[in-house]
Amino acid sequence: MSIRLDRVVKTFGDLTVLDGFSLDVAEEGITTIIGPSGSGKSTTLKLVIGLIQPDEGEVWVDEVRVDELEGDDLYDLRRKVGFVFQFAALFDSMTIGQNVAMGLHRAGELSAGEIEERVRESLALVDLDGVQEKYPSELSGGMRKRAGVARAVALRPRYLLYDEPTTGLDPITVTMIDRLILRMRDELGVTSLVITHDLDSAYRISDHLAMLHKGRIRWEGPPDDIQAVDDPVVRGFITGEPELWEDAS
């Protein structure tokens, strides 16, 4: 039944970040959320794996209400979901290899040899061969980001949540990551929820595109349709025109 958020409200203190947010993520598809900085995109992803709880509304993953899960049920759910953090969030006391292997050890399904094999494979997918023994602090920002992606995909989860996987990467690597996301869908049937500021990439990979504005979905539909949208908020955002954008907001 995939991922569904229903009229979610989330506030931090006085700040209302999500205000009646609803979104259905199509199974075995790639749904992309775009939206201005600080609009609550990362917050949405964290809600999905229960890292934070909504104030109101419902969050569903596979017929399970995540916002009502507690304890070990929550951890069981998270085994099915891979999460690429916006700032990689690599464990800096471990090597890249150990970072990527972490989730595999926890799942406990693979032998030590298989884990090693899987780690190498995953790092190769993001073009990070040979850095297994390095520590995160020895890597560039872009390399860390890719290592974060490798850590999430290594698990072969049913769902993958990417928080700005391509921000700050060079064009070649961006294309590589885009292809990786597509391959996950095509070869493994993974359902993906992607946050990105890179509109070209969004158009390329998305099956479904949604724009977040003021705590709600302002517009959603197939990526090809967005160019024809009249809404000045959407237009202003995708054409990157501050004047148009500000007037509309």
Partner: protein, 257 residues
């Protein structure tokens, strides 16, 4: 003016109650996480090393100098009516009952507590704790339990060694700097010795171990606000653990002596 000070008082009170609530929550979480041996088990030995073994040098250093100072000051105080062998009694009794556990505890509040708060705080603000959760690791089981467990196990061990070294240092000082013979020192040492004192010291040490590591873990785990936040958490961990050690010290004295 009045309203704003009232507000300040109110906010502090709410924050205080909130912290106690959060602390309790973390403690309950830690107790629940105890059964997840598969998560914390592999990390226990490294933490025993980090919390305990690595603390031995500083603890013994402090103990040695405490013993030396106590012996000299005791002999200075006891000139005249009190026989000099009382140096042994004073060194032994003070080190076992009070200075061994408390000075070690305070030193390790700085060494271990700050370390844990800074490490966990950094992991919190860089989302590494969220990352653990996303990989289905219970971060309390992964981070808090092995540290607090190591504190519980290693503090008594370290304090036991400290007491021995402190007394030995006092004895060597008496031998070389004061005109005291070994039998005299030992006589004083044994004069008021109760085996219960050692038990008492070890109970205290274990409670300090939980306190130092637990307070460090709490402030690290609940850290927010970037590098400045990590700094704040670290300071709070050291100050909080030190204060709690002294309060606990008084509590044990009242409860067990």
């Amino acid at each position: 003016m009045l309203a704003s000070s009232l507000q300040a008082i109110g906010r502090t009170a709410i924050r205080g109650v909130g912290a106690v609530g959060q602390g309790g929550h973390l403690a309950v979480g830690a107790v629940r996480a105890l059964r997840k041996v598969d998560i914390w088990g592999p990390l226990f030995v490294p933490q025993l090393a980090a919390v305990g073994v690595a603390s031995v040098p500083i603890a013994l250093f402090i103990a040695a100098f405490t013993g030396i100072v106590l012996a000299i000051q005791a002999s200075y105080t006891f000139t005249g009516t009190v026989p000099l062998y009382f140096v042994g009694a004073l060194v032994g009794k003070t080190i076992i009952l009070e200075l061994g556990p408390v000075l070690t505890g305070l030193a390790l509040a700085g060494r271990v507590g700050a370390n844990i708060a800074a490490e966990l705080g950094t992991m919190r603000v860089t989302e590494q704790i969220d990352a653990l959760e996303s990989l289905a690791y219970d971060p309390v089981a992964y981070l808090v339990v092995p540290r607090v467990g190591a504190g519980l196990v290693m503090f008594p061990v370290v304090v036991g060694m400290s007491m021995a070294v402190g007394i030995a240092a006092g004895w060597i000082t008496s031998l070389f700097l004061l005109d005291l013979s070994t039998p005299q020192f030992v006589r004083g040492l044994r004069l008021f010795f109760e085996p219960y004192d050692v038990q008492f010291a070890l109970i205290k040490a274990a409670s300090f171990g939980i306190t130092v590591t637990g307070v460090g873990a709490f402030f690290g785990y609940t850290c927010s606000g970037g590098a400045a936040g990590v700094g704040r958490s670290t300071t709070r961990a050291v100050v909080g653990a030190s204060m709690l050690i002294l309060v606990l010290d008084a509590f044990w004295a009242a409860a067990l002596l």
